[in-house]
Every structure is written in C-alpha cells, then in structure tokens.
Symmetry: C2
Amino acid sequence: MNCIFFNGIVLTMNSANTVIREGCVVVEDDRIVDVGKYSELKYKYHGYERFDCENKIIMPPLINCHTHASMTLLRGYADDLPLFEWLTKWIFPVEKTLTPEDIYLGTKLAVVESALSGVSCLNTMYYFMDKEAEAISQAGLRGVVGHVCFSNNKKQDRSITFNLVRKWHNSKNGLIRVTVDPHSIYTVDPVYLKELHELKKDLNDKFGSPTAPIKWHIHTAETADELVKMRESFGSSENPEIKKLVDENYDGVFDYLNHLNVLDDQIIAAHCVHLTDKDISLIREKSISVVHNPVSNLKLASGISPLPKLLSNNINVSLGTDGPCSNNSLDMFETVKITALLHKGVSLNPTVLPATEVIKMATINAAKTLGWDSEIGSIEKGKKADLLIIDLSKPHANPLYNEFSQLVYALKSSDVDSLIVNGRFIVEEKTVRTVNVEETITKVAKWVSDRFPDKSINS
Amino acid sequence: MNCIFFNGIVLTMNSANTVIREGCVVVEDDRIVDVGKYSELKYKYHGYERFDCENKIIMPPLINCHTHASMTLLRGYADDLPLFEWLTKWIFPVEKTLTPEDIYLGTKLAVVESALSGVSCLNTMYYFMDKEAEAISQAGLRGVVGHVCFSNNKKQDRSITFNLVRKWHNSKNGLIRVTVDPHSIYTVDPVYLKELHELKKDLNDKFGSPTAPIKWHIHTAETADELVKMRESFGSSENPEIKKLVDENYDGVFDYLNHLNVLDDQIIAAHCVHLTDKDISLIREKSISVVHNPVSNLKLASGISPLPKLLSNNINVSLGTDGPCSNNSLDMFETVKITALLHKGVSLNPTVLPATEVIKMATINAAKTLGWDSEIGSIEKGKKADLLIIDLSKPHANPLYNEFSQLVYALKSSDVDSLIVNGRFIVEEKTVRTVNVEETITKVAKWVSDRFPDKSINS
C-alpha cells in the first residue's frame, strides 16, 4: 500500500514532540517514508492513494502494555467483590476450564475492541498463548504474548515458553513477539525465578536481537503484601535453597528480585503500586520499564502507584488496562484520562501528569517498554506504518485549543476513525476490516449461554 | 407521541430496583403509562408506534447535577496549571468578556454533547442564565438553572434571580426549573448568605411547590481552605455583623452555614470534598443533597470526597461533571465509572460503590437532589416519559452478564442509541433531532477563531 495521509494534525511523538499542522505522512508498504507539511510534500508522491485527514489527528496508535486479552469472555462476570472471593470463587474455577478455542475466541473479541479504540498492540499474558498470537496476528494487530509461569506448572512452562518463542517471536511479518512471564513473586518460587531469568537470556541469545529482545513480563508489587504472600507460598518449602532465599528480610519486591540477581533492563514490570524507596532506586538503576494500570488498581482496590515519583526518577512508564474482567474494558483512551486525573487528585497537584506526558506513556514509552521503539511508538521516517487517525468532528471534541489536552481530557475511543498497522488498514472509517465482528460477538454470546445457562449469575 | 419501547432490558431504578427483561415501556404524550413484560402488555396498546429495543437497555436517562454548561467554549483552553494561575490568568479574564449570545452558543454545544451521551437534565450555574435556559429548553432537554451570586454583585443578583425564577421556574412544559445560587462561602459574605436564604424561601412561597421546589445550588468544601478563604475575603469587612460572623471559629463549612441558620433540606451542595465529622452530621440531619464531581475534583487537585462515609450516613448523593473546562467533557458515563473506581482504590475496599449504587446516584438520587423525583429519575407508571435507550451490540459491550456492571465498567457514552425527554425524541439512532449540530460546531469554531486569532494558546 502506497499512500499519503494528508492535511491532518500530525502528532509525531518524536523526541522533540514535533506537531505538524496541515501535515502529512507518506507510507510505502509497511513503512513510513516521509513526514512533513503537506504543502511541501504533495508533489513528491504521485500515484499514491490519498486520504484526506482534514479535521483529524494523525498519531501513533495507543499501546496496551499489560493485559490478559482472552479474558473478555469474563467481562462483567463478577464485580464489586472482595478480592479473595472474586478470584477463588469466580475467576479461578472458570479459568481452569478454558480451552484453546476459548482463548482464541476471547482474544478475537479483545482484538476487535482494541482496534476500534485505537490500540495497535497488546502485551498479553495468559494460557494457550499460541491461540492469542494467532488471533492477534490474523487480525493484523501487533502482540507481545507470554505464557504465564507458575511454580506448580514448572515442568510444562519451560517447553511451552520455548515453543512459543520459537514459533512466534518476531514472526508474522514482525507482528508478534514473545516474553517470558513469571506470574509474580508469590506464585513463582525464587529458584524458579532464577531459572526463568536464565531461560530469558538463553532465548534471547537464540531468538532475540537488540531491536527485538525477549523480555520478562511480570506482575510486581500490585498489592501491599506480596512479600508476605511469597513467604506464605514458599516458606515451608522442602527445598533448602528456596527456604533460605524466602526467609531473608527484603526491603521491597524489587530488593528481593535483585537479591536473586534477576533484575536487568529487559523487564516489563506491571503494576508497581506498592514500592519502597529501594524498589524505586532499583527500577531506575536497572532501567526496568513500569506499566501503570490505574483502572484495575482502583477496581480491585490494590492501591495507587506513586507515578509522579517514578517519572521524576526518569523511569520509563507506560500504560495498560490489565484484563478486561478487572476494568472492564480495554479502552486506552479511558486509561489515559484516568491516569492524568488520578495523580493530580491524589498528590493535590494539578500540574503533575500533564497531557503530553500521558500521551507519551501510551505511545513512545510503551514502544520502549516492549523493546519495540526502533520500529513503532512514533511517526518518524523509517519506522513502521502504524497510524491512528482520530476524528475531531463530534460535539465533545470541540472547540479545539490544544490537541494533547483534547486527547486526554475530551476525546474518546469512539472518536477513532481509522487504524493502520504495518501499513494495513485494520479499522477504516470506524469499521473493522480484518475480522468478522458480528460473527465474533455472536460466538461469544453462544459461548456464554453454553457455559453459563443461567446467564445472570450474580445480579 | 403514543408508543411502546419493547423487548428491551428495562432498568426501572424504582425503589425495589426492578429489572424487567424482554420488558416494555408504554408512553402516552409526555408520560409513562405502563411498564412490564412485553408478553403481558403487547396486546393492550394497539395503534401505538413500536420501537424494537431488542439487545438494548431501557433506563432513566443520566442527570448531570453540577455543571456550568456554557463553559464548553473554554474546553481545553487551559489545562494542567496551578489552580490560582488557571483561574486568574486564563479563566476569569475570558469569563468577564462573555456575552449572552456566547452563553447561548456554549450551552447549545453542551446540550448536544449531553444528549448524545444520554443526559436528559443539566443542573447548571453561570451568568446570563436566561440564555442557558433558552438553549436547553429549545433542545427539549431539562435544565435547572441558577444565576451565580457573588457579594460583589449583590445589587443585581437579587433582581436577576427573581426574574429568572418568574420567567423560567417550572416553565416550558415543565422542562426548566430555577435555583438560587450563592457561589460559595468565600465569595458570598454571611449577611448576603442569609439574605439569599430568605430569598429562596420567599421565591418558594411565590413560585415553588412541594413537587417543584426552588433550592439553593452552592459550591461547598471543594478545597480544604474555604473557611480560611472566607476570612481572607470578609475578615476586614466594615460591616460589624459580617465581621462578627466571620471571626468566630467553625468546625467545617457546614458548621459555619448552620450557624447562619441557612441550612435546610432544599440545598444542593456541590463537591463536599473536605468535610469534618460535624459537616457530615449536619448534611445528614438537614437532609442536604450532595453532588459528587470526581473528575473535576481530581483534575483541579481539589482532593477526594469521603463518598463511602456519606453513603453510609444515608446522605443522598448524586453526580456531576462540573464545568467542561475542568473535566473536559460532560460525559456522565465516564463520571459514573470513575466514581465506582476511585473510592475502591482510595479506601482499599473493592466492595464500596457497587455498580447498582452508582447508577442510582446518576438517576433517581439525582432526581431527588433536584427535587424532581416525583416526575423523573425512574421508569414508573405516572412519571414523565424520560427514557435512555442503550445499544448493547458493540464489541466492548459483550458478553453481557450483569447490566449494572456493564453500564458502569464497560459501556460508554457512545453506546447511547436514543434519548427521549418528556415524551419527545431528542436523540434517535445516535443522531440529535432537535438541534442543528453541524451549525453549532461551526459557530463555536468561529467564536474561537474570532476571540482567539492565535488558536493554539498554550500548546
């Protein structure tokens, strides 16, 4: 596809945060080949299909850096419950029964919802990730997929992860990448954490590269009691090495992980709600990327991450929705707004998390988080042709004074007009072009009625 | 208009919170005449136009209990600034220049945005409220309007308010009502507060009724320092009565107001962020209605209202967006979600503010706040035909397990299909039928470019 998106307001999200009004972006196949003022470029590219983006924003798509995509099947299944009851009575029992076909179906729904709301890439952790990768790549979106590893599944995890990487990392025209996913410190014992660290290094040597690294994706410090839960899980281990490591005192989750020598700059640390000063120093020193998931953190009452402090420590922070049954949408516009609002209110400072900063978090910071910033996250010559076109015609989008402010505080996912990923239209004029949406929704409804004949379970 | 909305999921929001699946609502002119299962009612109303609401929710519309509607003109005009600078450098200078025609135009935009997002009624406080009332009622929406009163405008306020009530209270087929609006305790001196209390009583005697009362609408305890600011404003008054009242010690904003004998059950208290225990007791004892505005409270870093505590004291709490330049939308779906999320996270309790409770706040509690619950706020026989029809077909709206949960955590303003107010279609199939939307947006854009030739003011 050779085309020019012209006359839009181009938010490049490059390092200078260049904004080009009456701008244009030129695409050849799957790459951006030119960006600039339309008046300067319009005569250079004859024969290219032209898309008039007047009264539209052209920006990098949003990236969801932490989710469990196929959990769309459980959207609204159980809410407003104490955490332990929610997990043990409602979520875990269903999760045990999910099949690869279920995962494929749930991910299809996630992909459709994500694309319609301007998200080009999902960083997702769950089971049967082969199926998540299949659904994501078939739809033409990008995905970073990881098989979630638990101590009680050691034997299988290793081979599953290896096969996932071998089959999917940097595959499908570069759409899919893979991570190694230790669930958390209280579900993965310290010896296994070290093994998964070695596995990551090993897989990187074999299948990764500097521009397509294989990272860890792990839940860290989501609740205040992770070290306590860690000791409850593994404190009575018969393995003396585990017992020794668990019994020591640690000044925070990252202090513990550092003691295990598993910290490096190839880690995606989701949540980071309850951090000690030591944790923050380590995150900074080791160049760990943090994924902030405010909607889930609030909904599950996990707490509020010290985001301003992380940013003032020059830590790379990006955003995620977490799973669609603790949100319950995959809406990154909503996540962006809530991020911008929450920390102002909590810190009693209306200047923190200004609009531009939050848009960075959802775009270029996210690409850096995933180790994908050489190719995506900003609109720059040579990068992949991933573009989000946003319609500015609706009443709530007017008047327009400042594009970043409007994106954060007024525009919504429903303002997404088109989404291009790898030079291909995924959404065009608000319609998904790569997935049969009606069929997906119908199948999901059927899945619910088959699995839960009494549909209103907890009304 | 005689019609039946059938086969929808009817959320009545009545006192039993009755939900009727495959339900229907029968409308004659401007009233609801029947509600029930469609199978039981379908043969009773021949000749009535039928609207198939399969795969749709039918519920009372959302009500925005605190806003400054015409400030849409300043949406995104200035953000992420320290409060004092935002107000004094950016907002106040523009506000001084606003004309009645500007107010009319801004309100038209507000009305269009509100209707499209499922809001039937705005409780709005500003200047030139004659024009706000005109724009709201012409569009067919409901409005509660009040002229904002300040000590430095005493002479005019009284007559403006009187005329506003006389012309507009309970007018336009019952669409418009009026309030008496002392801005706050730090902008209205205590003697004037007492006068405005008397004015309210006087106007109620002349123009109000038990089912259409004239209330106060006042900002209360939005920031922590209102009593301090009150003393700064009026502490050096030459009026000995003012000085005496200001100089005393008070245990909270409501304690102060109670001392002035201005508290009663006809008060709409917006914000209520910083409350003492004494305040909460008084709010409860006097049956004052509180309007919670979480988006604005966060954005302006005012703080977080102790909402769970208010609810556990059986205080009537409803929701508002505040003005569209401290939000920056008028989106009540968003406000509902943020309300449900915020207090879970802040109180570290995932069971507070369950979905049903928050929907009550946006509907029937809101009607009670405005003294309008004999006519609106729930779908019940005899009440006014105000209906919100919500489309459940989009990907993010599926699967559906629990309607209240879906409304709060997954559905969005863009899912609004139709809005009926007083038996009239305001929005039908996602299109506004009573206002020329394109023309409004064009006029607003022209207003901005005329008023601010250098459009990107603070990019």
